[in-house]
């Protein structure tokens, strides 16, 4: 039976785990992730989730324990944030390189120093090249739905790549909204039990993660990239299949809002998409042709889709809740590169905001669109990087 619950983004993830039924969960608490695994440990204690819950001494150990359990053929789960993700950094490419299909929600939080527990996306963006698929969600419902999709994606034989499901700390993790929960049997049909392709089998011994020489290393990296390419189509297909079964579509690689005829489009990643959309709605009512493009998949990066949407704009903006020091916002770099093959490249502006938990108000989004109007017709990207509301 379907039901509707009032859930925080973190509890929406925990409820998703109840449907997913991993066999091993290993996690270490860190704000703002903690309430995910707190809730799951309650489910495990109540036998609502039939998993071994391993309480480990660090995030490095959490992901290592998941790695071991994945070797044993188990469906596994962990979650983390910020410094915890950084502490896992050594194990991230181990998991992706070993092609173990795990799913890890990352509740996005700034990286110290200065020390803070508040949110931005510097943690996940800093782990961009670890070989994990990186999806970003904008609300609790999407967090729930994307966790289900992420397991299907990760476990697909052509993909076999771990997935980070990114949800913004506090904005999503600690606010509550109504979340539609499917009937368990519906999820069982969508996400069948996990059959590991590579698993410990005492009758057929296997050497796991052998030491590769220069003669074979590159081939495995090539396979990883091929899997990322396969993931592109799979992410898009899963969004369609999910909508057919559950009636919701949060987008595949991207999600457009009033982009078809838009002269000015703002590109977003994560929870600020909602505010951007409200600003666009308001400006549309005033006759301004504006739109919002949500990037849902940061890896694999939807370059072709982005180019299709942005090619005919008069100017585009990119909101980054991260900074690639010495350059610009990481998403801005990628969006610009996507447009390289366009005959005429529209001017682009980079907006840096929402760092360390700073809010971005509706009027600040409206101001971004005003700046885009002013940038139209300007050659190239004049003073491309703009810190929003800098004191």
């Amino acid at each position: 039976m379907r039901e509707r619950k009032f859930l925080s983004g973190n509890h929406a993830v925990a409820y998703a785990v109840k449907y997913i039924q991993p066999e091993v969960i290993a996690a270490y608490p860190i704000t703002p992730q903690s309430s995910i695994v707190e809730k799951i440990s309650q489910f495990v204690a109540n036998r609502e989730v039939d998993a071994d819950f391993i309480r480990v001494e660090s995030e490095h150990a959490a992901l290592s324990a998941c790695y071991g359990a994945a070797c044993a053929g188990c469906r596994v789960f962990t979650a983390t944030s910020s410094q915890g993700l950084a502490y896992m950094a050594e194990m991230l490419p181990y998991v992706s390189g070993s092609r173990f299909p795990m799913v890890m929600p990352v509740v996005n939080r700034s990286m110290a120093a200065p020390w803070t527990i508040w949110g931005d996306q510097q943690d996940a963006i800093s782990q961009r090249d670890t070989g994990w698929i990186q999806l970003f969600v904008e609300n609790a419902q999407e967090a729930f739905d994307t966790c289900l999709q992420a397991y299907r994606l990760a476990e697909d034989p052509a993909v076999l790549t771990p997935v980070m499901v990114n949800l913004d700390g506090f904005v999503l993790s600690h606010t509550e909204e109504l979340v539609d929960l499917p009937a368990p049997e519906e999820v069982q049909a969508f996400l069948p039990p996990y059959q590991a392709k590579y698993a410990v089998d005492f009758t057929n011994p296997t050497t796991f993660c052998f030491g590769a020489t220069p003669e074979v290393f590159a081939e495995y990296k090539y396979h990883q990239q091929a899997a990322m390419e396969a993931a592109r189509q799979k992410i898009t297909d899963l969004a369609v299949e999910f909508e057919q079964l559950f009636g919701r579509n949060h987008g595949g690689l991207i999600k457009e809002y009033s982009c078809e005829d838009a002269d000015y489009i703002l590109v977003t990643l994560g929870s600020f998409t909602g505010t951007a959309r409200t600003a666009a709605q308001k400006l549309r009512a005033m006759g301004k042709k504006v739109g919002v493009l949500k990037v849902r998949s940061f890896r694999p990066f939807p370059a072709h889709e982005v180019a299709r949407v942005l090619a005919n704009t008069k100017a585009f903006g990119v909101l980054d809740r991260n900074y690639s020091y010495g350059n610009e916002g990481a998403l801005f770099t990628e969006i610009k590169a996507s447009l390289y093959d366009c005959a005429v490249r529209p001017p682009g502006l980079n907006f840096i905001g929402g760092l360390g938990g700073r809010d971005i108000r509706l009027d600040e989004f409206e101001a971004m669109f005003t700046k885009l109007e002013q940038a139209a017709g300007e050659p190239g990207t004049v003073k491309a990087v703009n810190f929003i509301g800098l004191r």
Partner: protein, 85 residues
């Protein structure tokens, strides 16, 4: 490379796609006349490159790195380390 590699770095045993024989500078050459099949070389070989049978000890040159431990441990001086040509 003589075997097709799977897309993940996990291989069924026994597997031989990663061999270490090419690392060798000196090759152990066994004098079967001197060898008394005591198997000390088999015990000490760090790479499992010594193969034993009822009749003789053999060196698996696909894996032997030429470290010379076998020659050092052999009580009968039955193993010479000969520079690879």
């Amino acid at each position: 490379m003589t075997v097709a590699l799977p897309s993940a770095p996990h291989l069924p045993n026994p597997n031989r796609p990663i061999t270490t024989g090419s690392w060798r500078t000196f090759r152990p050459v066994l004098d079967h006349e001197k060898c008394n099949l005591c198997l000390l070389c088999w015990v000490y070989c760090a790479d499992g490159a010594m193969k034993r049978s009822e009749e003789a000890v053999m060196v698996d040159l696909e894996f032997c790195k030429g470290c010379g431990i076998c020659a050092k441990e052999c009580h009968k001086d039955a193993i010479d380390m000969v520079e690879e040509g």
